[in-house]
Amino acid sequence: MSEFLETTIDKFTFKVATDRFYTLEGVWAKEENGRVRIGLSDFVQQRSGDVAFAEIKPAGTVLATGEELAVIETIKVNITYTSPVNGKISEINPAMADAPEAINQDPYGKGWLAVMEVVDWEAQRAKLLDPPAYFKIMKGQAEEEAKNL
């Protein structure tokens, strides 16, 4: 069970799971028995709006950090998210085909996007943000957006 860092800005509460690592754009990576599960942060899903479609690169695709992993279409925008690690996609979330709203409903659980096989996770993890670091950045982004509401 994940634990969370949490902040409330205006009427919105944002959670950051403490058991994984993050990119600046809010993609999370969680090591699980030698593989890395990937998804989107709570802040990203709330800011982007209700997800209509999620198109994820198929299993077998080899990606370098920063290459396109998924395109998410929401009621507001289409956003391309990039891979947080180097590796090969071994699994994509089957729920994304029929129920991509899982990203909104459970961003750190059932709303995961893909699982990747990676080499040298420790070295790759070092390039990602730990939960407190991402929490601080996310909070700044959320406060900035709140000024425009």
């Binding site: 709006g49 209700d50 209509a52 479609f53 009621i75 909104n104």
Partner: protein, 142 residues
């Protein structure tokens, strides 16, 4: 023995300035003005929010079909808070997922995809209305 249903209330999203809200309203207009004008009545969500007595009486007297533009589901919530019975809840996003080529864009004026999506949605609402009026369907939430 219950009295037959003579009218169905249609309550769309009030999201002004958002394509999905506009789709919900265009669909509601199509049902209440073109497809089933005599058997349906549009109740503006804003009047329910304001506590308008006539609107509250309408949703209390007849089953309602709500059409929401986002997961906040304001239309469904306000019908419930107003003492109404929801026969069926529609969400524009659910319909769009089944018709991916009909992406709604534009706000004051919907693009062609949005207009077609509104028509598809209106036809689905009309089918529910017909079911309620003929007693074939009580609605999934009834």
């Amino acid at each position: 023995m219950t009295d037959p249903i003579k009218k169905v209330i249609i309550v769309p999203c009030s999201g002004i300035g958002k394509p999905y809200g506009t789709v919900s309203r265009e669909a509601a207009y199509a049902v209440t003005e073109d497809l089933r004008p005599g058997q349906t009545q549009l109740v503006p969500l804003a009047l329910l929010v304001l506590g308008d007595e006539q609107s509250r009486a309408s949703v209390s007297a007849c089953p309602a079909v709500t059409i929401d533009g986002c997961k906040l589901a304001c239309a469904a919530k306000m019908v419930q808070q107003s003492g109404g019975t929801i026969a069926k809840e529609f969400a524009v996003l659910d319909v769009y997922r089944r018709y991916k080529d009909l992406k709604p864009q534009g706000i004051a004026e919907l693009n062609e995809g949005g207009q077609k999506l509104a028509r598809v949605l209106a036809e689905e609402v009309t089918a529910v209305v017909d079911g309620l009026l003929t007693g074939r369907q009580g609605g999934e939430n009834a």
